[in-house]
Amino acid sequence: MSVSNMLENWSKFRHMHPVDDKPHEEYKWAMSIDLDACSGCNACSVACYAENNLPVVGKQKFDAGQQMHWMRIERYWDDDGREFPDQGAQFLPMLCQQCEAAPCETVCPVGATNHTADGLNSQVYNRCIGSRYCSANCPFKVRYFNWYDYPTTDNVWPAEMTQQLNPDVTVRGKGVMEKCTFCVQRLERAKNNARTEGRLVHDGEVQTACQQACPTGAITFGNLVEPESKIARQWAHQQVELAARDKQAKDEQEGGSDLRGYRIFEELRAYPSVMYLERVRESAI
């Protein structure tokens, strides 16, 4: 603890709280999901199970609402009371939104969930004591708690199944909170490689598991700081800004924008890092 530490590092740490005049420095990971391309096939969800050592909880625990899908595909119907959903269903892949002002972070009593320098909402499993306040405070309910000790639960990873577990990712024991990490193990590897070569991670060098699997390429992921990255261009084109909250309000006005980009619960001012693009349906038929 020292005053010099404060003085030297203050400005550096300020960047973890980006405001307009102090944006992220090197990386700000962000995602966009094109709902018009998403077909709801669940490939991303299975990829997440494979990449992140998610336990298969079985029917009984699924029934109890204790499933552990970091990426869940939600299916919605229109509420317009038609006899048939003749414009199809709407699918929405829901994952941790990696909010810039994450409601979960401030409430954790032990600081197990924090903001990282590249804009991730990190979860430190070893630090977690399982108060579940973060989940209580998450508007999206995308945090998943280890209600049981899955590594020792029957038929979760029996016998040889343990060999499939990804050694880059911890297998969580009971009583800790977990959630989508944007495949932080992949990000770290890419960053390390880039650092070794004295450069920054370039666009498309790192993919999240869900993005990699997605057959329709509905998921775009990348570094928002780099203006030429696909994700940055998408965000810019859709006029969705990380630390702003007025996009939806503007869209709703008469003559507002006819762009598809939006973020869920923008009005709660959590500033999610995941942008969705509205699903489109042909008006001619």
Partner: protein, 464 residues
Amino acid sequence: MEKDIRESIEWAKINGDVLKSLESPRPLFWVILVVALSMFGVGVGCEVYQYQIGMGVANLNNPQVWGLYIATFIFWIGMSHSGTLLSAILHLMHADWRKPIYRFAEAMTTFSLMTAGLFVMVHLGRLWQFYYAVPYPNERWVWPNFQSPLLWDAMAIFTYLSSSVIFLFIGMIPDLAICRDHLHPGWRKKLYTVLALGWEGTDRQWRNFRVTYLTVACFLIPLAVSVHSIVASDFAMSQQPGWHVTSFPPYFVAGALYSGCAAIITLFVILRYVFKFEEYMTLPILKKIVRLTFAIAMVWTYLNAVEFASVWYSHDEASKAVLIQKATGIYAPFWWMMNFCGSVVPFVMMIKRFQTSIPVMFAVSLLLNLGMWLERWMIVSPTFSHGYYPYLWDNNQWPTLVQWGIVFGSFGWFTLLFMGFCKLFPSVSMYEVKEMVYHRSLANKHVEQSLTMNVNELEEKGAH
């Protein structure tokens, strides 16, 4: 009008009556003790099972991450506020009728805080890492998150619990000296000798005692308010619809005082019956607590209505949906019962005849407590089942026997502590009853004198 206390009670009788409560217990004591122990045992068993298998056995799930544990935690925290009300607030307001009944209320404060503290632990997914939440210097320089209302909670409870224990102890020192002086030799006498700290009742001791007692009382009042405000902040500072309401802190404090008063009535009746304290825990005092309880009940009812109204007028659809769901969803029976118990039942206390009716007030107090427990449950569970995210709405899970067992066990634990206290320490403050008797008789003397003077004056006037 009947008097709060008979002024002519001999001081020695006070000592004798109260010290009698410390004598060897009757068989009934052991029966209740065994019952309480087995209740506690059930709770411990459930907790061991949950510790071993995981929180999942409590049937909590993704939106319903908190359950009866947190609800009961708030309930016990609320219970604790009565002691402070009686001993600190009424002390400052010179309401001396509190004197015969504040000691057990303060003990109740301490023990319900200890019970509440257990729930913090029971609730944790990784109980064995509980100390991570404690701000202790460690070699990695990792500190807890000082912004978390949960940490404030821990700190507030610690402060409140330790201050309450100190307050209880300080206030008991003169009584401990009495116990030391008047009990038969034995291990207890040795205990009291140590605990009495060599109290002799000298003027220097009394003088400092008075200042200290007053000062600590002054600290305890804002502390008690802050404790339940902070518990309310756990909810009000979060982003759940229905919780994010600024009226939560006063609402919680009122609820706390309310349930605390109800619990005092319950224990008042029990102690009066068990220890035959009819001379001290008199019906006029009961009447006063009942009136106080009624007043608080109305404050609570008002704040309850304020909560609904502020949700209603906020035009926040999500919060409104929570409210409607509370009144119409699957929690509706409990919600309506809570409103009935909390806002309708207290009107029984308006009826003069019932204000001093022990059985009626006992029943009412139990109903009020039930209502207040339901209130806490209705704050926690229905909100989770109707958050911002409709995809997870109504994903309800009925609490399992493990949850109920631990809640049940907490009552056993509280009973154990309270029974132990009543047998070890005087549950009526002897020295303060003496003070009360003394001051009342003094006052009476004054009144008599002035009355006599008045009569004389009248006679004189009449003579003219």
